[in-house]
């Protein structure tokens, strides 16, 4: 059961983040003020994938809550940190972000740190 929940978390998170990043890149730079908030809310409503990404995020959130109830945090946190690597790879090939050696090395260091922290 915990592996099923983990799979749900990983896929929902990865899908949600990719869709969100894709849509936000297309929507142009947002601003942080009152008018920016109104524009952002309009963007969320008008872009279908953004709504889908929030739904995926909610699925991942509730699955994580369920996982924490049946498995220790020391399993849940490092296992869900696996989304890191998957998302960085997909960001390179799907979103066409430039992931150079330095960024890849830094991401791996962070992953190692998260796994150590959760033990």
């Amino acid at each position: 059961m915990k592996w099923v929940l983990l799979a749900i978390i990983v896929f929902a998170t990865v899908f949600s983040d990719l869709l969100q990043s894709y849509e936000m890149k297309l929507s142009g730079e947002q601003t942080v003020d009152r008018r920016g908030l109104a524009k952002l809310l309009r963007t969320i409503v008008s872009r279908r994938y953004l709504v889908l990404s929030i739904v995926c995020m909610a699925i991942s959130f509730f699955a994580f809550m369920a996982l924490v109830q049946i498995a220790p945090l020391s399993f849940a946190v490092p296992a869900s940190a696996a989304t890191f690597v998957l998302e960085t790879i997909l960001a390179k090939f799907v979103l066409h972000e430039q992931v150079g050696a330095r960024r890849a090395a830094g991401t791996l260091l962070v992953l190692g740190g998260v796994i150590l922290l959760a033990r």
Partner: protein, 170 residues
């Protein structure tokens, strides 16, 4: 834009106006160039806010859930009852703001840039637990914290946005 401003001094020759415009063009180009270097203050501040709102939201939510005293199963009414708890409601509000700020951040920078940087929240949680809750931190935890910090610095030194606005459709 400075270039569009009406020049207060009348009687400039067209050549002088031309050089005035060129000067401003050069300056604005220089400003654009300086904006492209790895990461600007605006982005860093928003990353910090995203980390703080996520940690505070999760903390408030966890605190509330622990004090509600009933386990929420698949009963939707149970979720509604739980949300009436102030700590849970506050946590949800903080997380809604976290989501909105993270979306804004994603419009400014790469996903592969934001992910490692916002993981500084794990470091924040460990440090806060050590300072305020007097939790013992095992040596492996300090090593983990250092690894995350080093990794974050490494990623933070790369270009924060490597795709244009229409970069995805390329």
């Amino acid at each position: 834009m400075a270039g569009n401003r009406q020049h207060p001094v009348s009687g400039l020759t067209s050549l002088q106006t031309q050089s005035y415009r060129t000067h401003h063009l050069v300056r604005s180009a220089r400003e654009t160039a300086s904006r492209v270097v790895p990461v600007n203050l605006k982005t860093l501040l928003l990353i910090l806010a995203v980390i703080v709102f996520n940690s505070a939201g999760n903390l408030s939510l966890a605190y509330g859930m622990r004090h509600v005293g009933e386990s929420v199963g698949l009963d939707p009414l149970g979720y509604i009852r739980v949300m009436l708890n102030p700590a849970v409601a506050g946590g949800i509000v903080l997380l809604i703001f976290w989501l909105l700020m993270r979306m804004t951040l994603l419009s400014w920078a790469d996903l592969s840039f934001i992910l490692p940087l916002t993981s500084l929240g794990y470091v924040l949680a460990a440090v806060l637990g050590y300072v305020f809750l007097h939790e013992t931190v095992a040596p492996s935890h300090w090593i983990g914290t250092c690894l995350i910090f080093a990794g974050t610095m490494l990623v933070g030194s790369t270009q924060s946005k490597t795709t244009g606005c229409s970069g995805v459709s390329r």
